[in-house]
Symmetry: C2
Subunit: 415 residues, 2 copies
Amino acid sequence: MSSISRQAFSANGINYQPSAKPIVVICMDGSADEYLDTTMAFDRMPNLKKMAIAGYRGMVRGALPSFTNVNNSSIVTGVSPAVHGISGNFFYDAAKDQEVMMNSAEYLRAETLLAAAANAGRKVAVVTAKEKLRDILSHKMKGIAISAEKANQAKSETHGVAGVEEIVGHPTPVIYSADASLFVLRAGVAFIEKGLADFLYLSLTDYMQHTYAPDAEESLAFYEAMDAEIGKLLQLGAIVGATADHGMNAKVKADGSPNVLFVEDMLEEKFGENGFRVICPITDPYVKHHGALGSYVVVHVNDKTKINEIKNWLAIQPGITEVYDKATAVRVLEQPEDRIGDLVVLSGRDVVVGRRPQYHDLSALDGTLRSHGGRYEEMVPMVISHPLNAAYKMKAAGDPRNFDIFDFTINGTNA
Amino acid sequence: MSSISRQAFSANGINYQPSAKPIVVICMDGSADEYLDTTMAFDRMPNLKKMAIAGYRGMVRGALPSFTNVNNSSIVTGVSPAVHGISGNFFYDAAKDQEVMMNSAEYLRAETLLAAAANAGRKVAVVTAKEKLRDILSHKMKGIAISAEKANQAKSETHGVAGVEEIVGHPTPVIYSADASLFVLRAGVAFIEKGLADFLYLSLTDYMQHTYAPDAEESLAFYEAMDAEIGKLLQLGAIVGATADHGMNAKVKADGSPNVLFVEDMLEEKFGENGFRVICPITDPYVKHHGALGSYVVVHVNDKTKINEIKNWLAIQPGITEVYDKATAVRVLEQPEDRIGDLVVLSGRDVVVGRRPQYHDLSALDGTLRSHGGRYEEMVPMVISHPLNAAYKMKAAGDPRNFDIFDFTINGTNA
């Protein structure tokens, strides 16, 4: 293997002093800690267990809303949504009266540590399951940036690599599959083996977690297969850090049907028509997961004098757990002020919030409704392959964040 | 073993249909899931692992505030603090201008399922580490009720059993020790072995968790010793359900010193003197654990017209995560209206809230400050030794509570 740059770099005020070993951070999309617990109880994650014993395993707090692109943006920048600006897949631009999709780097307000690592001489590779994340994750970055979803379309000029299927030895997977995530890990292994990368961010997708509970055989087999790839990364001498963007919970009633509060309808019934716009920032083009239903919505109120009254009413509705006005959401939930609404609403562990029934197509679900977005999907696991030094042991015992994962993996394992 | 009553019983509207096997519920005080994860990663909890594989392991939501007597009261009644009335160790009775200690059954507003089980012919035993819980847990109950702390003072007339040290084969432990909890489990084993009980509630104490992080050898050895006793319970044919009253987090700054917000001082500095009374409902006579500092306080405000202004100001102070007025706290936090304050304040994962420095003696701490009481100690593990039936699998996938533990252990394991 050619020599690996140890040059320090910084991004968004955070300094990184990497070792000369390959560094791999994995975002195990939707991996509530129960997925690890259950698979490990059946002795089907031996490599992750080795990491926990030799290195560190603990819980870290994700960014809110507990959605994929919010937390992926935090992980590659090391900062909260208040700083990087990505607060969901969608926001409502009140001035332009437009609902704006944020799956593009033009909405990113922070630099990425991946770009900084590349500028410092690391061979960086970003592999994401879904194409939608590629633009943000690879913003201004020299190196490899591909998605599993469109692996066979990667070209040297635009993706930093071509012939991906041949390199990885697997065909481009369908996005609604275990293989979509496994391909990401396999690509990471192949890129290190072939000397194409020494600094990797591997971001999986949560189709499996949306569809299967931790004790389903499909889930156990999926995590077991993930673990096998993690084992190969460890065999290659990599320092591996793994975390999740968010957890996952069933969001159903006792009869198994979706447990939904349609907030726009609720508000109109109570306060009259045409005064409200509810934005579900989980909404994205991938509908089979969750029908655009999560445990977090923002509310725009036409009559601003009523905000406090509406807030107090929403706060005591069964199933709703937290309601914040804009100023408080900016502080407590670390949100960008111009990309939320007048109110931010979070719901319970088994409850999702939506707009109106006609905005949510649940017919495409591949199982019962499992989703995320709220407080009960905020805490996620963090596992590091190497022992933490004294300073990072202390940091781990405080209020570590999932978006500190590169910091822990790089700086936390320095002797 | 003499025949065990299978007579159904009910308490607080919940029906229980017990099997003829011994039924044991364990409250592993202060057992954040990380304690189980870490000890199991080192293969030092083989019996709990067996339970997870043969039965069920998942996360459940505790009652708030995430304190010991609140959750123990919920576990033995099956209902929330709004119903049973125990909202902490202390509350302020504004009418009488008195701070009232609630460690007595006279403050309990619900019946216990333990008393109901005894009336249905079960041989019930309650063993608690701390004497302070004995009165509430054994309220109106026929059977055995002892504490480890005062095991050698148990008498047949008042405790339902005498000669406890001889029966258990261990001396009365000191309360600040691993043995205080282990004695509870050993007593449970001995009572079943000797035919003295077939329906048990074993409530441990969290001195060890307050003092040691999950990866400390003292903690690993403690959980290993707990696991050995759990193994004996399983060997005796018991159906075992285990959960926790609350989790546990370090509450320190980067330099290891306690991370405290003194709310009464903060409010006086901002809003003027003599207008506030802050109650720390974690306050109890056992001071070595936490110095009366937890992540939950209630605030009484003299000038009721200022409540909203104070609420909004508190809500955006760094380290404070949630602030509720009384009506909202009653609904969202399931609190008894007459035993909270005008405002309820919760703090972050690494932050505790207190009154003023002079009310908190931290000199007695046996380590760095680790505590609980807030949202980040709300989610706790639940482990059941036997497979869940279909209805309770569904219930476990919803929003199960730690105080459903008797329901799960009894009704959830019926075929």
